[in-house]
Structures are given as structure tokens and as C-alpha cells.
């Protein structure tokens, strides 16, 4: 039985590796996805981070020379030209009057808070205004002979325990998403070609007329596709390793480092997923009546693993998701990059479920190949 599967497997590998279009599509993914991620991260970081010297528009600056000076000491200044962020600090006309009388003086921050890339800068401006506020208030209390600490009922001190890497949760999610998804997308073309394509070219009929069981055929196909998926995973991680070096991580205060150990563990974690994904792709392709139909069905079905992975990335329903196949494996990859312990129970359970799905899809495909309707695409 193993001999027959290995003969069939060799044929599948030979045939698929000569399918230039599918190989190229896979390569585009493996090389393109990590590079695209890096470009995305770089642009995102540049927009999200508040520049060291923040230039904003300050109106009526002459009304509040002290405040302007204070902000300048924190590198927030009025500026002109392109570097200026779309934030306006407007000082009210009665600012000086109220200030000297010890009343509340009004300043306006005019900005679009829904704008992601301004958020960090607005927060920084607000934080510094609050700082100035408490400084002036303290001075006022001292002038009245009152200890300023009386106005500070609780003294909040936050000890940030986040390590530089753990801060980048979302970014890590996206990075591991691209690795997991490579197992589904890189060999997609090959999977469709070796199943729906084989049927369309009529070679499936001849294959089935030989003294072999349909399980042999399906296992050989799944094995070959999963093999290509693993190669895609290795390529994606290796390309990521080099591409991520070019991302300006220092802007965000954390780094994503993909090292050799991670690549090896990712392959081990990815193996069951590769088998499951290959058997799923082949099952769906045989379910469809034609090559074209298979392409659209596969695209739809691949939405599910992408959603699983997305849920992990966006931290949706983490309590449940951490046990689910794909999500749990991705979570394990994230923990490895963060340098934390791997959630072993979750990983083992979800890997077992993944392998179970592989067995189910393989069984269903081999059963389908016994049906005339499927073989002749009726």
C-alpha cells in the first residue's frame, strides 16, 4: 500500500512542480506577502508614531506665552508647511484675564480624533496640557499657602510590565496570520489543478480504472499538496526573517524577530494544518463540477481559516478561540515570538482536531471518488 502511495505521490509532485502557473502563484505569495507586510508596517508605524518634534498650529499664541514656552520645552511647537499635523491649539481671547484672576482659562484642541495617525500626537498634546495644568494649579495652591498634594487624592503610578516584543500584539497577529495563511493559499492552485483539473483533463478516469483504491489516490494528492504548503511556509518565514529587519521597529518600541528556532517550531506546528488544508482544498475541488467552479468554492471556503486567524489577530473571543484549530496554533506561534511559554494543552488539542479534520476530509474525498457523478462531473 505504501508503495502504491509513493508511486502516486511521486507522479503528483512531478506533475504539480511542472505546473508553472501554480508554482509561480505560490511563489508570489511566499515572497510577496512578507514584503507587503513590511511595507504596511513601515507606513503604519510612521503614521501612528508621534514625531519627536511635533509641529501643530497654535492660534493666539501671544495670549499665553508661558504655555507656549512650556509646550516648546516638550518639543510641541507652532509650525508652518508640510510637517504640520492637522491639530490646532486655539487659545481663547480671555485666556490672560482668566489666568491672572485665578480662574479657568480655556484652550481648544481642534482635531479629528477618529484619525488613527493623529491619535498619538493628540494624546501627547493633551497629556502635556494636563501637566501644565497641574503645575499652574500647584503654584496657585502654594500661593494660597496650601500643600498642593492635597489636590492629589490618589497618586496613580503605573508599572508597565510589557516587554518590548509583547507590546506588538496586533502586529504579531498580522505577521503570524501571513504565515498561517501561506499554508492555505500558496498551494491552492496546485490543489485545484490536481483534483478538478485532473478530472477535467480526463486523466482521473484512467487513474481510477487501475487496481488502486481511491484512498491511495487521495492520500498521495494530499501528501503532495501538503508538501508544497510546507515549502511555502518555510519560504514565507525565511523571507519574513529578512524583510522584517527593514521595518523601523524602534519607532514603536518593540521588535518582531523571526529566528531559526521559530522557523523550526512553525514547521512542526504547521504540519497538521498543511495536511488539513490540502485535504480540504482537494475535497472542495472534487465537490465542484468544474475547474472554474472549484476556484470560486475554494476561495469561499478559505474564508473560514482566514476568519479564525483574524479572530486571533484582533483578540476576539480569546477564551474560546484559544482552543480552536488554526487560532490556537497561531496563538502558539505568537507566544513563541513573544518569548513566552507555549500553551501546550491548547496546541495539542487543536492539532489533534486539525488532524481529525484531515482524516474526515480525506475519507470524504475518497468516498466521493467512488461515485460516478463525481468522477464524470455529472
Amino acid at each position: 500500500m505504501m508503495k502504491l502511495i509513493s508511486i502516486l505521490f511521486k507522479k503528483e509532485v512531478l506533475d504539480a512542480s511542472r505546473d508553472k502557473r501554480s508554482v509561480m502563484a505560490g511563489l508570489y505569495y511566499c515572497i510577496g506577502a512578507p514584503i507587503l507586510m513590511c511595507v504596511l508596517f513601515t507606513v503604519m508605524f510612521k503614521q501612528m508614531a508621534s514625531p519627536e518634534a511635533l509641529k501643530i498650529t497654535i492660534k493666539n499664541a501671544h495670549n499665553a506665552p508661558n504655555l507656549v514656552q512650556f509646550l516648546a520645552s516638550k518639543e510641541i511647537e507652532h509650525g508652518e508647511g508640510e510637517e504640520v499635523k492637522a491639530i490646532t491649539l486655539e487659545i481663547s481671547d480671555d485666556y490672560q484675564v482668566n489666568m491672572t484672576q485665578g480662574k479657568s482659562a480655556t484652550v481648544f484642541i481642534i482635531a479629528d480624533k477618529s484619525e488613527q495617525k493623529l491619535r498619538a500626537s493628540i494624546n501627547r498634546l493633551e497629556r502635556n496640557l494636563m501637566l501644565y495644568n497641574s503645575e499652574v494649579a500647584s503654584l496657585r495652591l502654594v500661593a494660597r499657602g496650601i500643600d498642593p498634594t492635597i489636590a492629589r487624592a490618589i497618586d496613580v503610578q503605573t508599572h508597565d510590565q510589557a516587554t518590548p516584543t509583547s507590546k506588538g500584539g496586533f502586529v504579531l497577529g498580522i505577521a503570524t496570520l501571513s504565515i498561517i495563511i501561506s499554508l492555505f493559499y500558496a498551494a491552492m492552485g496546485m490543489a485545484i489543478d490536481s483534483s478538478a483539473g485532473e478530472r477535467e483533463r480526463n486523466s482521473l478516469q484512467l487513474l481510477l480504472s487501475h487496481p488502486i483504491s481511491t484512498t491511495h489516490i487521495v492520500l498521495a494528492k494530499v501528501g503532495a499538496i501538503a508538501g508544497f504548503s510546507i515549502i511555502a511556509l518555510i519560504l514565507t518565514t525565511v523571507v519574513s526573517k529578512f524583510a522584517y529587519n527593514m521595518v523601523p521597529w524602534e519607532m514603536m518600541g518593540f521588535t518582531v524577530i523571526i529566528d531559526f528556532t521559530f522557523i523550526v517550531t512553525a514547521i512542526l506546528i504547521g504540519l497538521p494544518i498543511a495536511l488539513m488544508s490540502a485535504s480540504l482544498l482537494i475535497f472542495i475541488s472534487f465537490l465542484a463540477k468544474s475547474f472554474k467552479e472549484a476556484q470560486s468554492y475554494v476561495a469561499m471556503a478559505l474564508f473560514i481559516p482566514v476568519m479564525m486567524s483574524m479572530a486571533t489577530t484582533y483578540d476576539i473571543a480569546t477564551d474560546i478561540m484559544q482552543w480552536m484549530p488554526i487560532a490556537a496554533q497561531q496563538n502558539a506561534m505568537i507566544e513563541i515570538i513573544k518569548g513566552n511559554a507555549i500553551p501546550v494543552t491548547q496546541l495539542l488539542l487543536s492539532s489533534a482536531v486539525t488532524l481529525g479534520l484531515f482524516a474526515i476530509f480525506t475519507y470524504l474525498s475518497s468516498r466521493m471518488l467512488k461515485s460516478e457523478k463525481v468522477v464524470f462531473g455529472l
Binding site: L4, I7, L8, K11, L14, D15, R18, D19, R201, N202, S203, L204, Q205, L206, L207, L208, S209, H210, P211, I212, S213, E372, V375
Partner: protein, 244 residues
């Protein structure tokens, strides 16, 4: 030996096989003759085990195809319609793959492939990928695949379609040689000359049933006609679907 016994098969609303029975013996070339849509391909596909008969059974060397498909198919060489080539493989790789699949060891398969490629005079295309092959080259490749492992029973579905005169002669010689070696050769065709020239036993079928069977000569005598073509038309009662 291939035996088909009282086969019934309904495809959609059509009774493709309607109580079909015949025997193709070893050391004989049996021709399955019938107009388009007579059920020839359906019958052969049932013999391959690709289709399951609603009733009746097909046996190869007395092994029921439906009950023990793997064992029954061990002694079967197939030339299907359509050929089912792998466009990205060369005839050598293709033939060798099927030889191994039929149970040959890699070395023996390679040697047998070389022999059959020589016999079919296709060494010039043996290591070119099948993509872009002419119909004749495709047919030869499929034929090499069908006979490489020297099965006792060889089933061919319209093997002469698209072959030029030279290739047809090669095929004819080959079938006669297989017959001389004691193989059971069963082929379907609607080309009269082919059947008349080659077959020891002709099974004329129409609408999924056997209309008549016997040697070409006995069929002529039976109908009182001089040529097989005339005899055939008399037997099926129409000239629909006959290639000259």
C-alpha cells in the same frame, strides 16, 4: 477473458445498457460494433469498474469487477476514450508511472517502457512533454500505457480515432501480435474496415443490447449481404452513426 452478463445501466433517463451479454475470449480479438450512443463506452466503463451496473455483472478472468475491483483490474490494460494524458509528463514518464501502478518494479517498468516505446516507434517523442502532441502521438502514448505491463486482457475504446495510415498499421500489427500471444483483446469501434480486418468475433450492439454476434463472415452470411457494412445496417435497421 472478459465476460459481460446481463448488464443493465440507466444514465439519467436513458437505458444505456439494456441486458447486455457477451464474452471476449483469450487469443481472440473481439470487436464491439455499434452506432453512436449504442452504449459501447458505457459497457467498457462498466468493465473498467468506473461505472456500477444497476443489474448484472462484468467479470475479468472470472473475477467480478464490482466485488473485487482491485484484483479484477490487475490483469487489465486500458485504452480509454478520451486518452487521459498528463500534459506535463513525457510519454516515458507516463508509461513508466502506469507500469509501476500495475505492479511492476521500477527497473522492470523502465525496461518494459523502453521496449514498448521502441515497438510503437515513438522514441523520437519519448522524452518530450505531451503538451502539444498531435492526436496520433497522443493515441500512441495512451496505447503504450495500455500494453506496457503485458496484461492478459486489453480493452480499447475506439483506438483508431485520429491515427494516420502508418500508425493504424502499427496498431493493427500490434493487436494481431497480442492475439498471437494469447491475450484477450476487446475493442469498440464504428469503423467497419477496422473491425472486418481485425476481429475474430464481432458483437453488434444497438440501444444497449446485443443485436447479433459472430465472426464477420458469419454476420454477412446471416444477413445475406456481401460486406460487413451492409450486414451491420441490416442488423441495426438504420444507417445512423456509421463512419465510412
Amino acid at each position: 477473458m472478459i465476460q459481460v452478463d446481463n448488464l443493465y445501466k440507466k444514465i439519467g433517463e436513458v437505458n444505456a445498457l439494456d441486458g447486455l451479454s457477451f464474452t471476449a475470449s483469450d487469443g481472440q480479438i473481439t470487436g464491439l460494433l455499434g452506432p453512436n450512443g449504442a452504449g459501447k463506452t458505457t459497457c467498457l466503463r462498466t468493465v473498467f469498474g468506473l461505472l456500477q451496473a444497476d443489474k448484472g455483472h462484468a467479470t475479468i478472468d472470472n473475477i467480478d469487477v464490482a466485488k473485487e475491483p482491485t484484483k479484477a483490474k490487475q490483469q487489465l490494460g486500458l485504452f480509454p476514450d478520451p486518452c487521459g494524458l498528463y500534459e506535463r509528463m513525457t510519454p516515458r514518464e507516463y508509461t513508466q508511472f502506469y507500469a509501476q501502478l500495475s505492479g511492476m518494479e521500477p527497473k522492470a517498468a523502465a525496461a518494459a517502457t523502453q521496449t514498448v516505446l521502441e515497438k510503437l516507434q515513438m522514441l523520437d517523442i519519448a522524452d518530450r512533454r505531451c503538451k502539444g502532441f498531435s492526436q496520433g502521438q497522443r493515441m500512441k502514448t495512451a496505447l503504450a500505457q495500455a500494453i506496457v505491463h503485458k496484461p492478459t486482457n486489453i480493452v480499447l475504446d475506439e483506438p483508431t480515432r485520429g491515427l494516420d495510415v502508418m500508425s493504424t498499421r502499427v496498431l493493427r500489427d500490434l493487436l494481431l501480435m497480442l492475439k498471437a500471444q494469447g491475450h484477450c483483446v476487446l475493442f469498440s469501434s464504428h469503423v467497419m474496415q477496422e473491425v472486418a480486418a481485425l476481429c475474430d468475433h464481432v458483437v453488434v450492439m444497438a440501444k444497449g443490447k446485443v443485436v447479433a454476434q459472430g465472426s464477420p463472415q458469419s454476420l454477412c452470411e446471416q444477413t445475406g449481404k456481401t460486406s460487413l457494412e451492409e450486414a451491420f445496417i441490416t442488423l441495426i435497421g438504420t444507417d445512423e452513426g456509421i463512419a465510412a
